[in-house]
């Protein structure tokens, strides 16, 4: 797979930073009595990747389908380049493309026939050989689509989405089924698209993917956005973790209470571990403040904090707490 970024939008010199390409405002979608999406708002600017995360059934795909123009909002609005995408007016459909959650390929065609068709149907297509090289399928041109592996089909999906030089790209779990190497190469392709000004919406269950690629992200749960912001701001809101092995002669009740830090004790490998989650607005200093207090406490008692670890919250921590409903408590 060629790892250099592509020429997606650069050929047309369409770096545009004048405003958001996609604006979603208080989007709601009802199916009868069931409300699948409950007032979702976000925007995506050219050159920005917005990751929409969430559990299965959180409303992500319904949101994307509305942005793609397949569903009319029950209320609220979606605008792509200032236009309502419902029904896919030409001002929208010629400037957007997508990798769908499922492949959507014609199994009876070969790889060359598939990309050739997409090329011939596009107004200003990219070169097919270049695209197949980009996604690492150059040697599969004559192979029938039905004979491709799941990961190879995903790579072909990505190539098809790039044929039309989209300015807005919806990526619905684009690396599902890919091996780690192909996934990393796909991330490089996506990073290249960002650099060339493409506005990207990404959904994924691989949180590392969102951490690597997202400029901003939102975590949806039961139709609502529970957490939103840049990766740094999202993680900052969930505290820094300071963990150590609980000394044998220290009971749980002996652990000191520290300002703006929550204590949790858990069993790992048949040993008790204490974890302090340092909260507070002093994001840059709070881990130091907590560690310093713990070191002082340990020195006072003449004990050593074994396996002392300091780490920030991971996206997985945040995601799991949102999925568990903990976010209900934190955001209410």
């Amino acid at each position: 797979m060629t790892t250099t970024a592509n020429t997606a939008a650069a050929d047309q010199g369409r770096q545009d930073t004048t405003g958001p390409a996609v604006v979603v405002r208080d989007l709601r979608q009802h199916y009868g009595d069931f409300e699948a999406v409950k007032g979702v708002s976000f925007e995506i600017r050219p050159g920005e990747l917005f990751a929409l995360l969430g559990t299965n059934g959180a409303g992500k795909t319904t949101t994307i389908e509305t942005m793609e123009g397949f569903r009319r909002p029950s209320s609220g609005s979606v605008r792509v380049f200032g236009l309502d995408p419902h029904g896919q007016p030409s001002g929208v459909r010629e400037r957007t493309n997508a990798v769908l959650q499922g492949s959507g390929l014609l199994d009876d065609l070969s790889v060359d026939e598939t990309i050739g068709l997409a090329h011939d149907l596009a107004a200003n297509p990219r070169d097919t050989a270049e695209l197949l090289d980009l996604v690492g399928l150059s040697d599969k041109g004559g192979v029938a689509v039905r004979q491709l592996s799941g990961g190879q089909k995903r790579r072909l999906d990505l190539a098809l989405a790039l044929v039309t030089r989209p300015e807005v790209l919806y990526l619905d779990e684009p690396t599902t089924g890919m091996d780690p190497e192909a996934r990393h190469e796909t991330w490089q392709i996506i990073s290249g698209l960002k650099k060339h000004g493409v506005a990207i919406l990404l959904t994924t269950h691989y949180l590392e993917e969102a951490e690597r690629l997202a400029d901003r992200l939102a975590i949806m749960h039961r139709g609502e956005v529970r957490v939103e912001g840049t990766l740094a701001s999202v993680l900052a809101g969930w505290g820094d973790r300071v963990s150590f092995l609980l000394p044998e002669d220290v009971r749980t009740g002996d652990l000191p209470e520290l300002p703006e830090a929550e204590i949790a004790v858990e069993t790992r490998d048949q040993a008790l571990w204490a974890t302090y989650t340092a909260m507070g607005g002093d994001v840059a200093d709070r881990a130091h403040r907590t560690v310093a207090a713990l070191i002082a406490w340990a020195a006072e008692r003449g004990i050593t904090l074994q396996h002392l670890q300091v780490r920030g919250a991971s996206l997985e921590d945040v995601f799991l707490r949102v999925a568990d409903g903990a976010a209900d408590l934190l955001t209410d």
């Binding site: 604006v23 459909r93 957007t96 959507g104 009876d108 149907l121 039309t164």
Partner: protein, 280 residues
């Protein structure tokens, strides 16, 4: 809060829909040839044309017996079998496998996607019609259509109409197998009411009048008129031989019925066709 999105549209290259339809029709042709089930829709109209050879062939108008007229009328059912059978089957399968959605998110307009499958149905309908003409030619002692243009128009319009009908089957079924079964309902009803299986001459006048509005009747009658040069639109009982213009004037009501059905079905397809396998 940002209230409007930016990024004014730049001048992007465009591609004509005609070019897109022709290109996608080429792929539809390839897919049709590779999809063995589709071949059944080619053989069935030919089989029905052969079946008419078993009918008594008493002369109805000079040069044409009842069997030959039934065979000619069967050309109106080519589009029925191909058009209702093929698009309903493959478009349901493609909807479920996200192929249709893939086309849409790539910016391919609805009209191009529909136009291509209609194009391949019309193309194969014309091929089968040509074979049936050869059959009539052989059995009638070398008679060719008097008005080939009208015959072609009848085959094309019926192909378009029935393809739209086939597309309209897809929203009501969840998979290709169900689509095949569901398509049999309109196919069988229209096959029996089209005049190819039960000649309309045997029906009472009132029933005949009503039947002229059934989608399957006008194409068969236009085929008969086009082939024989007789005004077949009121039955052959008092049919007269017409000139070129006279025949087209007589065909106007049938053309109108076909075009009206095409218009109605187009609206219904636009309104009810589903691109997404997910049920709301």
């Amino acid at each position: 809060m940002t209230t409007t999105a930016a990024a004014p549209e730049r001048s992007r290259p465009t591609i004509s829909r005609t070019k897109q339809v022709l290109r996608l029709t080429r792929t539809e042709f390839t897919l049709f040839v590779r999809y063995k089930t589709a071949w059944m829709f080619l053989f069935l109209p030919l089989f029905l044309a052969f079946v008419t050879l078993q009918l008594p062939n008493d002369e109805v108008i000079p040069g044409f017996g009842a069997a030959e007229l039934a065979m000619i009328a069967s050309m109106g059912t080519i589009g029925l079998i191909l058009g209702v059978g093929h698009p309903s089957n493959v478009f349901t399968a493609r909807r479920e496998s996200l192929v249709l959605k893939r086309f849409r998110v790539s910016g391919v307009p609805q009209s191009v996607i529909f136009g291509a499958v209609i194009g391949v149905v019309v193309l194969f309908s014309l091929v089968i019609a040509a074979l049936v003409v050869g059959l009539v030619f052989a059995t009638s002692g070398g008679t060719l259509p008097r008005d080939p243009l009208m015959l072609v128009v009848a085959v094309i319009l019926s192909g378009v109409m029935y393809s739209l009908m086939g597309l309209l089957v897809t929203p009501f079924v969840r998979n290709a197998e169900a689509a095949q079964m569901a398509a049999m309902v309109p196919m069988m009803i229209l096959l029996f009411t089209g005049g190819g299986v039960i000649p309309l001459e045997f029906l009472p006048e009132t029933a005949r009048q009503v039947m002229t509005f059934v989608p399957s009747v006008p194409a068969g009658e236009m085929a008969q008129a086009a082939y024989t040069g007789y005004d077949a639109f009121g039955g052959f009982g008092s049919a007269e031989e017409k000139g070129y213009l006279g025949l087209w004037v007589s065909a106007l009501p049938s053309l109108g019925v076909l075009l009206a059905w095409i218009a109605v079905l187009t609206l219904l397809v636009r309104r009810y066709f589903r691109w997404d396998p997910r049920q709301p």
